[in-house]
């Protein structure tokens, strides 16, 4: 299973260190509509200071609509302008690696090269 940005990920030792198994509904903060752009780790591509940070090469997703929404409310007004919608995807083990960190509500999703975000994510207004 080859991940997107596999070459960059390989340069970081033990990255990602674990993979949560099974199918999960995961929520991603996006711009106004679903596009490839909303599923690219913009920060690490723009900012070399994150090159060696493993989870920067993945995508931040949340375990519920409410968790994603709560996080958005904690962004400054200037940072919040990049996000206006929340998208939900049902992610299984063949779609990539789901890394759970210190915050139980946050996962980093490392999609495979073949993973199609347009097909697998849709804009939602609540959890279900």
């Amino acid at each position: 299973m080859k991940l997107k940005f596999q070459e960059n990920i390989d340069k970081i030792k033990n990255c990602p260190s674990q993979n949560e198994q099974g199918e999960m509904n995961l929520f991603r903060c996006v711009e106004s509509e679903i596009s490839e752009k909303s599923f690219v780790p913009q920060a690490v591509l723009l900012k070399p200071k994150y090159q060696d940070m493993c989870i920067a090469w993945g995508l931040s997703v949340f375990n519920s609509f409410d968790s994603a929404n709560q996080m958005l409310k904690n962004l400054s007004k200037n940072k919040r302008v990049n996000y206006s919608k929340i998208a939900r995807g049902t992610i299984n083990d063949s779609h990539g690696i789901k890394y759970g960190g210190n915050n139980k509500k946050h996962y980093t999703f490392f999609p495979t090269e073949e993973f199609n975000v347009i097909e697998n994510f849709e804009i939602v207004n609540r959890n279900d």
């Binding site: 690490v44 070399p48 962004l75 007004k77 940072k79 759970g100 915050n103």
Partner: protein, 445 residues
């Protein structure tokens, strides 16, 4: 923002990173520590070539409040009274500018929404897993401490300055207070619920189940002279299903403080004590306390809260002690559930040995003493079908002499006495009860 100090030296690597609290493709809010001081680094804007952060120092407790949804991030930033550093860092991580500002000068664009609450759920590997638990424990202790009362035991002699001996503290002081408190709990429980739960076995079982939760929580401590803060835990007692028992369980700790650890034992308190608790219960509850208050080597003091002044527990009028503690009344442990019978003991004694006593089991009636005192009550009369219209408490001395049992008592100034063979112990009890009953009947006619 005024007084811009561009390009001053600032090294973020000197801060130890605890954890990213908010992460969205990049760290948004990060908890840092430096010299045991806590900071939040908050990414508020991304420009063409740089990121803008706010760095603010705050109390650890504020971070706990934020992580547990007790305050908003906006409130955390907006109410911060320290200087706030506005840091500009390029995308390579180099700091290219630092301004110092204060929360009231921050532009709205740098702030989160009004309802920027966070309900952080740390995994076991997270720093905040133990952090939140530890703060919850501290918060529990703090709430108990706020409602605690304090007792203080201090030596009256200056020989060892203000310090108190460990053994005397444990064996003469704490043991007596603990004994008194335990006896108070039981007596007050029976007094409060005897009408509701008439089955004595059920009453006993309920109390035994309840007892572990009734203990005071020790929430503060000071030494030299010995000071201790004691609190009634209300939270844990909420699990008691019966509302009346729950209310009693919450109240009884304060009741003990007000009644037993009373600083002056005024007439109203003494009268209440005498009317609400039996002589046996009073002896069990108050004798241990009076052992401390009457000991001239110590001062026993009490106060309602940490900030108040101590008052010495002092019963100036010794007649009050005599009224509370019934004289010549020996209290039997668990007397309510005890039944007595005579047993014969056969033993072998070496002829040349001088010792003339044998050791009896501690549960036997006569133990090492020749005389025992029990209290005859209304229910003892009922056992022999003698119905009394009121409660009585008649101390009955039972002694043995030359194979005979002697039952003696004085009631209403009249002496009653029966002497029988030891095998007729039950008859002796019956006969003396019969005589007293006959006297009571005759007197009422």
């Amino acid at each position: 923002m005024t007084n811009q100090n561009k390009n001053i030296d600032f090294d973020l690597s000197q801060f130890q990173k605890i954890e990213d609290i908010i992460y969205l493709d990049e760290p948004i809010l990060t908890h840092l520590i430096k010299n045991n001081k806590h900071y939040l680094l908050y990414l508020v804007d991304t420009l063409k070539i740089s990121d803008i952060y706010l760095l603010l120092e705050l109390e650890e407790k504020t971070i706990f409040d934020y992580l547990t949804k007790q305050t908003t991030l906006r409130e955390v930033i907006y109410t911060n009274q320290n200087f706030i550093y506005k840091i500009e860092q390029d995308f390579n991580g180099k700091i290219i500018g630092v301004d110092i500002t204060q929360s009231e000068f921050l532009p709205e664009n740098y702030l989160p929404t009004q309802d920027s609450y966070l309900n952080y759920e740390p995994s076991t590997q997270s720093y905040y897993y133990d952090f939140i638990k530890s703060f919850e424990t501290k918060a529990y202790l703090r709430s108990l401490r706020e409602q605690a009362f304090y007792i203080k035991l201090a030596p009256t002699s200056s020989k060892y300055s203000d310090t108190i001996g460990f053994n005397e503290l444990v064996s003469e002081l704490l043991k007596n207070i603990s004994t008194s408190f335990k006896n108070f709990l039981k007596a007050d429980f029976f007094e409060s619920f005897k009408e509701i739960m008439t089955d004595e076995k059920k009453l006993n079982a309920s109390f035994k189940k309840l007892a572990p939760d009734l203990d005071y929580r020790m929430v503060d401590l000071d030494f030299g002279s010995f000071e201790i803060g004691l609190a009634v835990d209300k939270v844990m007692k909420q699990s008691i299903e019966n509302k009346e028992i729950r209310d009693w369980a919450i109240d009884v700790g304060y009741k003990y403080q007000n009644i037993v650890l009373d600083d002056d034992y005024d007439e109203e308190n003494v009268s209440n004590i005498i009317s609400n608790y039996s002589p046996e219960d009073r002896k069990r509850i108050f004798e241990p306390i009076f052992k401390i208050t009457e000991n001239s080597n110590f001062d026993f003091k009490v106060k309602d809260s940490k900030s108040k002044e101590y008052s010495k527990i002092l019963i100036k009028d010794k007649a009050k002690i005599e009224r509370i503690l019934p004289s010549k009344l020996e209290v039997l442990e668990d007397e309510k559930s005890k039944e007595f019978e005579i047993i014969q003991v056969t033993t072998i004694k070496e002829k040349d040995k001088v010792r003339k006593t044998i050791r009896l089991d501690e549960n036997t009636l006569f133990e090492s003493a020749d005389t025992k005192q029990v209290v005859l009550k209304k229910k003892d009369f009922e056992k022999y079908d003698y119905a009394l219209e009121y409660d009585v408490e008649i101390p009955l001395n039972i002694s043995t002499e030359k194979g005979q049992v002697i039952f003696e008592t004085e009631f209403d100034g009249i002496e009653f006495k029966k002497v029988l063979d030891t095998v007729k112990f039950d008859d002796g009890i019956k006969q003396i009860i019969s005589s007293i009953y006959e006297y009571i009947l005759n007197k009422s006619e």
